[in-house]
């Protein structure tokens, strides 16, 4: 028995429409070691100690006679679907960040840390990414 041509057309069409699926992961810089960051002590740790522990910073900012070093590790996860004339994608980017502030003698005075790279998620456009509240 022959199948109706409509089904044969659909059998052709389906693989064409679902021709492309996209899953990608991108990282920037090296991951930050939370244990090493935990060893930072304001008033004691020097710029040299920080560089020996964490390596070269991503950025150095001069603040008058003082300075600040930035370390960051960024991850991006993207998921999508590419049909014939339709492209759906959803991308999530988060980072681990560390800013270390030094006085004029290159002794650390403050530091701020954020570890969020591990929260990066894959999702399709119709799925909400947890923690990604709407902007105001």
């Amino acid at each position: 028995m022959r199948r109706p041509s409509r089904f044969r057309a659909a059998a052709w069409l389906l693989p064409l429409l679902l021709a492309g699926c996209l899953v990608s992961r991108d990282t920037k810089n090296a991951p930050l070691d939370q244990q090493l960051v935990g060893r930072l002590e304001p008033g004691t740790t020097t710029a040299r100690d920080v560089v020996e522990m964490l390596g070269a910073p991503t950025e150095v900012v001069q603040l008058g006679h003082r300075s600040a070093y930035r370390y960051d590790y960024t991850t991006t996860k993207e998921m999508g679907m590419l049909a014939v004339v339709v492209i759906f994608t959803n991308k999530d980017t988060r980072s681990d960040r560390l800013w270390v502030f030094f006085d004029e003698n290159e002794v650390m005075t403050h530091f701020g840390k954020t570890f969020a790279a591990g929260d990066t998620r894959y999702a399709m456009p119709w799925e909400d990414i947890p923690g990604a509240e709407e902007t105001e």
Binding site: S5, V85, F88
Partner: protein, 158 residues
Amino acid sequence: MNALGRQPRRGPGPAWWLPLLLLSGCVGFHWERDTRFERVPQELCDRLHPGSSQLDECLAILGAPLWVWETAESGAPGAVLAYGWFRADDRLFRVSFPLTQHAKGNFDYKLVDGSLHGLVLFFDEQWTLQRWRRGRLEDITADIEGAGRLRPANTDKT
């Protein structure tokens, strides 16, 4: 009538989607969502007290900023810490067509619902918080020298 004596089948065949395929390079519908970094909740901003909050206190509340810049407001040296977050939910219908051998035309209809928002903290030389502002980073940092070159170019959607 074919060789077997059957009437050829009529009705929609596979050819109806052929124009769609042929036009796939010229027309397209894109739905793109993009999330970058974490939004700073308003309730955390409410815990910042200009004139008394110190840098270490602000860093403990907000974590590490995305950018730090030097400022010299009214001749007094200081620093700016900027936090940013980006949410986009773009639906784009695109038609492109060749005009000449070396040019092509585009017609885009785009509904953009996203831009880089952020929180900017202004500190004096003693690391005391002077003020903070929340809103579009592009507007808040417009007067800060050096902020322009560090503003993330990848938020410019085309």
